[in-house]
């Protein structure tokens, strides 16, 4: 418990909780829009952004957020015009981002040591700038979902019906992708590039198994994500394990429980 008195530990826990809330809400909408793979694609595209930010000597976290939002919107633009299928567009940015990072890894000396923290995340290494950026971004993300909740549920139900009810489909899709790109970048700090999509996908997937209405599904998703972060960090401290693995492990356990419950019920 003494550990909780340290600034960096408090920052880490609050960051984890804020990211859990943002990711778990976004995840419900992404899965229902059949965009679950977007998390994996954009987190790997973000890897390219981190490398590019390092090469350009700018604050990598904020630069990566802007870079990923841009890439996410590019995916949306090219897939919505049916030039290439959505999943193929995501695969493209997935490999493009990693390729960019690998190239820069070869060019920038010392980047290799620094990469490890981004690949697997390090919740206890959140800087003050990253902490404030996370708070600000989380406020933006939660406000977005609160403000456009009705339009987003309608959009997840049917684009045709939503359009006739006055929803600007193109604008709403771009806003959703921008916010989702932002939460994916935030989750990199908590669980790393490799596990970033799990923060978005697993709590939402668990909630979709248990929820009996849309609102209850969103709330369950938040509860699953927040409790996984708390349990994950606790286990990591107690057994001296990497927090990213234990957070995602807790999520998997909760998902398995929900899945089992559903199977037994049927």
């Amino acid at each position: 418990m003494e550990l909780l008195n340290y600034d960096f530990v408090q920052r880490g826990i609050i960051t984890g909780l804020l990211v859990a809330v943002s990711c778990s809400i976004a995840g419900v909408f992404l899965i229902l829009r059949r965009m679950a793979f977007l998390g994996a694609g954009l987190s790997h595209a973000a890897f390219g952004g981190i490398a590019l930010g390092t090469l350009l000597r700018v604050e990598p976290f904020i630069f990566t957020a802007l870079f990923t939002v841009l890439v996410g919107n590019l995916v949306q633009a090219i897939s919505s015009r049916r030039r290439i299928p959505g999943d193929a567009a995501i695969a493209l940015v997935f490999s493009g981002g990693v390729a960019l990072a690998v190239l820069i890894l070869g060019l920038v000396k010392g980047f290799g040591e620094y990469v490890f923290g981004y690949l697997f995340g390090n919740i206890l290494m959140v800087t003050k700038e990253e902490f404030f950026f996370t708070i600000l971004s989380s406020v933006v993300v939660v406000s977005f979902f609160a403000l456009f909740y009705r339009k987003l549920v309608l959009l997840s139900f049917s684009e045709e019906v939503a359009k006739l009810k006055g929803v600007n489909i193109t604008l709403m899709n771009h806003l959703l992708i921008s916010v989702s790109s932002l939460v994916i970048v935030l989750s990199i700090k908590v669980v790393g590039i490799i596990l970033a999509s799990s923060m978005v996908v697993i709590p939402a997937l668990t909630a979709l198994l248990l929820g009996r209405s849309f609102m209850s599904t969103v709330l369950i998703s938040v509860v699953v994500a927040v409790s996984s972060v708390v349990v994950g960090i606790g286990v990591a401290f107690y057994y001296d394990l990497p927090p990213s693995g234990s957070i995602v492990g807790a999520m998997i356990l909760l998902f398995s429980g929900a899945f089992l419950k559903k199977v037994l019920k049927n």
């Binding site: 059949r34 309608l154 139900f157 045709e160 359009k163 006739l164 009810k165 009996r212 209405s213």
Partner: protein
């Protein structure tokens, strides 16, 4: 007043094969129009053009007297789509869905009018086909539209559910003065219930009273000896 006016409309998805060819017709206020035609005749494409989802390759479309290119008042039109490819795990209840498009008071009215009270708290994806169609109809009616476009609202439903929906549509047409345009493959039901029939097979083959449509329908579907090659 004509709520829909279509003039010389042609449409092609790829710029080569025409799905609709020089289609012209008008729908008056209060009309109940049945749209009949074989698969691939362009019925759903026609609806998508009327709803502004697709742009005509040629010709003009007017809604409530206004060119569709300038028309913005979509709340005057209610639409029930043919098939919704909603994600299997979509969790919203009927009440939640109706609340997205209507205030609380109106949700109660719609639930009463469409007899949805027994399943208003259930999830949409767990309802029967007939119940889902009622919910879609409820969402279409939420804003009190003057014009309803229904794309096969009774397809795949049992006889009881079909009759229930048709009763509601007749009520909307006769007692509430709604203008309805409905695509259906159920020729008998269409001929019995509508005021006008639009027979479509890329071109308009017939538009008028149901009585005069029988011969054209028989020919269109190849039901007359030595006639047509349409699919039944």
């Amino acid at each position: 007043m004509q709520l829909i006016r279509v003039e010389d409309l042609s449409f092609s998805y790829d710029g080569r094969v025409r799905v609709l060819e020089e289609v012209s017709f008008g729908v008056d206020k209060g009309d109940f129009v049945g749209v009949i035609g074989p698969n691939g005749a362009g019925k759903t494409t026609l609806f998508k053009i009327l709803l502004g989802f697709l742009r005509p390759s040629r010709g003009k479309v007017f809604l409530f007297g206004e060119d569709i290119r300038n028309f913005r008042d979509w709340s005057r039109i209610g639409y029930v789509p043919q098939r919704l490819s909603v994600e299997q795990s979509f969790p919203a209840t009927v009440e939640e869905l109706l609340s997205l498009v209507a205030p609380k008071e109106r949700v109660r009215e719609l639930a009463d009018f469409l007899h949805m009270n027994s399943f208003i708290g259930r999830q949409f994806q767990k309802l029967s086909g007939g119940q889902q169609q009622l919910v879609l109809l409820g969402m279409a009616l939420a804003s009190g539209p003057e014009l309803l476009l229904l794309d096969e609202p009774t397809a795949g439903l049992d006889v009881h559910a079909q009759m229930h929906i048709l009763e509601i549509l007749k009520d909307l047409s006769l007692n509430e003065g709604k203008t309805i345009m409905m695509i259906s493959h159920d020729i008998g039901t269409v001929l019995k219930n509508v005021d006008k029939v639009l027979c479509l097979n890329r071109k308009v083959l017939y538009y008028g009273e149901p009585d005069g449509a029988v011969e054209v329908i028989e020919e269109m579907f190849g039901l007359r000896r030595g006639a047509g090659d349409g699919t039944p």
